[in-house]
Symmetry: C2
Subunit: 415 residues, 2 copies
């Protein structure tokens, strides 16, 4: 075996947002949840992780760089993923270059990992979900593991629970599973991203001064102290999962929106029922909910669903482009950018929604009329950091174009 | 019967704050709750309603003035109270003045009612509880009804649910009752106000731009839409009621504080689980909770309990004067008054707590050190409107001094 070669794989994996929430583990170590959850995968064009994994006999140890900065791989979550994929590694052969790695070699070979999020990591946009899914997916391809994406999802789950749902596009169910070793706690696709392609998703990244409780700590405290969580997990969620799958399959937006909003609110309710209570939403989050609720009620049928994860950011799912354009008008009315912010850096992602809303510059934002469904509508300048317009998207893909790799094919170090 | 006489009674009734919350009616008309609740009565010296009721053959109709302004008595809640007390009226004789009213006369005689709150009515400080309790208590005395305060509480309950708990001092339990006519849904005293007289109560009246959902509407929507409420009412609250009574009887502050905070948070959790969700607490409320939780945790044993009703105001119950003085220092650090506000109008009620805290003027507030349990503690100037320092207090009393009457003894009209 020559000492100089490097073999690399680059993959891109989407993030996802739960519409029936995962909150609470029944097994902390294996990351097994107390209930099923369902998510929508977000278009990786706007929100994704790209990960390059490389192997070379010249690597002295496993190393990882996240957004260009080296980080430690010693944490249990990384170790779980590396161990599980290594255990499934198979023979790899590059005939052209005359390289052959046998199943057994993987035990001794080390990997380099470089990962990059095309969105702010700290903004509370489920970067760990996309990150662990991408790591597992890319390693599996590098090591020629034969497992399908559901089987890989059970490994990604041991990195970050919600990562398992990022192994598929469209709508995805994480089945909680029953067996003790967690092997049946994995993700399956409900429908692919083409099934319901009218949907438009607008994310409001909310400014926050508060340090938030990590979701790991938060859900542990909820499991330990909330008297409502078990009732939710055992009695309420199982019914909602069935209803949500039906709604998605039938593209029943009214039912989908009702379930999505109710389940987001109930997740935040069990957080509040925790001792000490956990508050992820702030006044801005509440105002966004109020804006959506009042509009939905004034129309008589839901136009938009909202859901909030473990932070103040709103994820708003509009029935179609028309509803999305109207929503964006309302959001920009309530939450105009600070005067030193350009529209171009305030509304990110799919800018065609902005065009549909008839907004070309900040003057158009200033001139927006107050939503008729609210009297004396105030404006909360600066309370939202920025918006991202996106849609449901595809699952993980391999990037064969070597120019997209994050590691150098010669050195195996970050480019 | 001469046409010119007026007979009057003036009573003073406290407000109360629930430590195990009432939220949800099983009967809207009779105001029967879905669970028992327990409250602490607040000292009427700082927060009370004074009500004068008068009867005269010269009155052409029932009339009422609230804080000097005439209001309509046509609402069902007032009519309930008037009808129920009239049905229990007995003979009244004023031998000195030669006036005799027979049981039957009350059917034809009209009353004038004047009511005054010694605190801002709109501030979300349970003014309706004190108001209906005072109305029923004063009318019962005027009409010589023989019912005891528990029996009267079942009438006040039909004006405003939580009013039934204002018929007693100290700690009070509202038993939800079983029978259909609601006659066993009434208040009983747990302990009187002398039983646990170390407690000090500080109320933070929080500034709010938000229009709040009325508690009547809010609890109806929670009953109709929350999937968590019934579990709370049937499985959780009954146990908490037993534990809370024990804690109060044994003056076990750690247990009392734990239950009080947990139940306040669970009440707000079921509000959030309502469709559309109800948010009564705002960012300032959350910050007050965080301030108390961090302090309690840093000491290792609870110093202060918090509870929030259907609004953003915090009611903070301190273990003793020392804890109250420390709490006030912390609160004034985080929430100093606006620069145009005088300390005297910012900390109301029992100002001796302010003295214990070593604070004499605004310079002392400015100079307060950041609480050591929080790093980089920011200050939120203007987010609290004012504080009221008070304590557990007595139940309703008659005021025999005619100078305190709100109606003129000659005309029966407001003075």
């Amino acid at each position: 075996m020559a000492e100089s070669w490097v073999i690399m794989v680059t993959a891109q994996t989407p993030t996802n947002i739960a519409v029936i929430k995962y909150w609470g583990k029944r097994d902390e170590k294996l990351i097994l949840p107390v209930n099923d959850s369902i998510s929508v995968t977000l278009d990786p064009v706007h929100l994704c992780t790209t990960t390059t994994v490389a192997v070379s006999p010249s690597f002295a140890q496993d190393r990882m760089w996240l957004n260009g900065k080296e980080i430690s791989l010693s944490g249990g979550r990384y170790q779980n993923c590396l161990r599980e994929i290594r255990a499934r590694a198979c023979d790899v052969e590059d005939k052209e270059r005359g390289i052959k790695i046998s199943k057994k070699d993987w035990e001794k070979l080390h990997v380099h990992i470089a990962s990059y999020n095309n969105f702010p990591t700290a903004a509370g946009l489920a970067s760990s979900a996309a990150g662990f899914a991408c790591l597992v997916f890319a390693l599996a391809k590098l090591m020629n593991a034969k497992e399908d994406n559901s089987e890989l999802s059970a490994i990604a789950r041991q990195g970050s629970g919600s990562a398992c749902r990022s192994l598929f596009g469209g709508f995805v169910k994480w089945k909680m599973g029953k067996v003790e070793d967690g092997s049946d706690s994995l993700a399956v696709q409900v429908v692919d991203e083409k099934h319901w392609d009218d949907l438009v998703i607008i994310i409001a990244v909310v400014s926050s001064r508060q340090k938030e409780t990590s979701s790991t700590t938060g859900m542990r405290e909820t499991v330990e102290t909330s008297l409502l969580l078990q009732h939710r997990a055992k009695e309420i969620v199982p019914k909602r999962i069935v209803q949500m799958e039906e709604s998605i399959k039938n593209r029943n937006f009214a039912s989908f929106a009702h379930l999505t909003c109710a389940d987001s609110n109930q997740f935040h309710a069990v957080c509040m029922d925790t001792c000490p209570p956990i508050f992820y939403m702030n006044d801005t989050s509440h105002r966004i909910i109020s804006c959506v609720e009042k509009w939905n009620r004034s129309v008589g049928t839901p136009q938009v669903a909202y859901t909030f994860d473990a932070g103040p950011n709103a994820v708003l799912i509009a029935h179609n482009r028309k509803a999305a354009a109207q929503l964006l008008q309302k959001l920009l009315f309530y939450f105009p950018p600070n005067s030193d912010t350009e529209l171009n850096s305030y509304v990110l992602g799919d800018k065609s929604i902005l065009k549909d809303a008839g907004i070309e510059d900040l003057k158009d934002v200033e001139a927006l009329p107050p939503p008729p469904e609210i009297k004396d509508a105030p404006r909360y300048k600066g309370d939202v950091s920025y918006f991202i317009c996106t849609r449901p998207g595809r699952g993980p893909v391999l990037l064969s174009d070597e120019s997209q790799a994050l590691l150098s094919p010669e050195t195996g170090l970050p480019k």
